[in-house]
Symmetry: C2
């Protein structure tokens, strides 16, 4: 499972275009952190990244600063920077914010969506259906996030969209953490709820959108809580 070797080959002789250094390092690291390829709590070695990406420490550091602003990485002054731990004690606050953002963004989408946006939301929903059919858990997690992010964008409130995407990303890490528990019938429930959500948005029915979003949020929170409750590992409460 460690194909870091191939991932390590960012250093292809063709020199990157000026100004893309930070962007690639940032994007790559962000993806790897969210996919748990770099586990929470890992120490990040700037010099290794230097070799891996074939660039100097300066752009690497700027990428790390950005990741720190995203909350994906924590910097210990004069010491090291580590991948942000998953703090289980913070879960209630996370669920609270996530639920609220589900509702707010879905409501706004119902008001502000254009036809084009409905189309692209639908296409993502189809992608989700395909992932469910193929039992591709990784794909489900990914597409599900994009589905809701697209709804948020249709709502056209930058502040909500940014917070929501952050929460959805954090949720991605959580879901991957419980990857193995994912073989139940829940995905199809989500599928139906998504369908109803799109319908409400398309109908510009704010009240209905709110109701559906609320139910969907509750569903997801319950699921994750169940995973956590079922998790019998000692010290699971611990920040890591």
């Amino acid at each position: 499972m460690n194909d870091q070797a191939s991932t390590g080959a960012e250093t292809n002789g063709a020199k990157r275009k000026r100004g893309l250094g930070v962007a690639t390092a940032y994007a790559t690291l962000k993806r790897e952190i969210l996919e748990l390829r770099i586990p929470p709590g890992s120490l990040i070695d700037e010099i290794k990244l230097t070799e891996r990406f074939g660039m100097s420490r300066t752009p690497i550091r700027e990428a790390l600063v950005k990741l720190a602003s995203d909350g994906l990485v924590v910097t210990l002054p004069n010491r090291s920077t580590v991948v942000a731990p998953i703090d289980f004690l913070e879960m209630p606050q996370f669920f609270d914010a996530l639920s609220l953002m589900y509702r707010v963004t879905t409501r706004l989408a119902a008001v502000n969506r254009t036809e084009d946006e409905i189309a692209s939301i639908r296409s993502l929903q189809e992608g989700y259906a395909e992932a469910v059919a193929a039992k591709d858990v990784s794909g489900m997690i990914e597409v599900n996030r994009n589905f809701h992010a697209e709804i948020a964008r249709a709502g056209k409130n930058r502040y909500y969209t940014e917070l929501f995407e952050r929460l959805l990303d954090e949720g991605r890490r959580l879901l991957r953490f419980y990857y193995s528990s994912f073989n139940d019938e829940l995905p199809s429930v989500y599928l139906d709820e998504h369908e109803e959500m799109v319908a409400a948005i398309e109908a510009r029915d704010v009240a209905r959108a709110d109701r559906v979003a609320r139910a969907h949020a509750d569903q997801i929170v319950r699921q994750i809580q169940a995973y956590i409750a079922a998790d019998r590992r000692v010290n699971a409460e611990l920040t890591l």
Copy 2:
């Protein structure tokens, strides 16, 4: 009132402690941007900052990256970075998010506040009263922001607190923008509303806290909207 001269003298011989470089540059620039001492749209010259802060470009750049993540600064690739403009077309979204955060954080504070937090909220409220009495508009804006930020912190939800502080900061720029219109009786209205807010939080009365927060948010939104409406400058709608 332009003490830029002194502000420009960050370069005192005593060498900063290692690792405080970025922090000081970040904090100083952030404050100056929020106080409109550096007007929206200004070009930021890294080299001038280099001379001003007496440090190399590396820490300056890292500070700018952080400011960019905060949305206080916009980076044009390979060109320059400018202070984030105030986008009046985005106002409705801003008001929406601000109002929601007023409500959510106040409600949470009513549930989660400790005695100590009540005390420090009260002390900020007193500071606000003093600023009102002294007709110190600048102080009012500052303390008002800290008052609400402290309430948010008492609510103990990191996600809300971060978004809210960002919104409050953006609001600070807006209010300063209309600095001159600030000589009315509104501040004392706010004073009363604050008082009621604290009472609701202390009583752990969520419903009342919500009601008060809602009214307060409406009040503030109406005020800013009135300022904007009264603003007869041509092209006021423009992003700048």
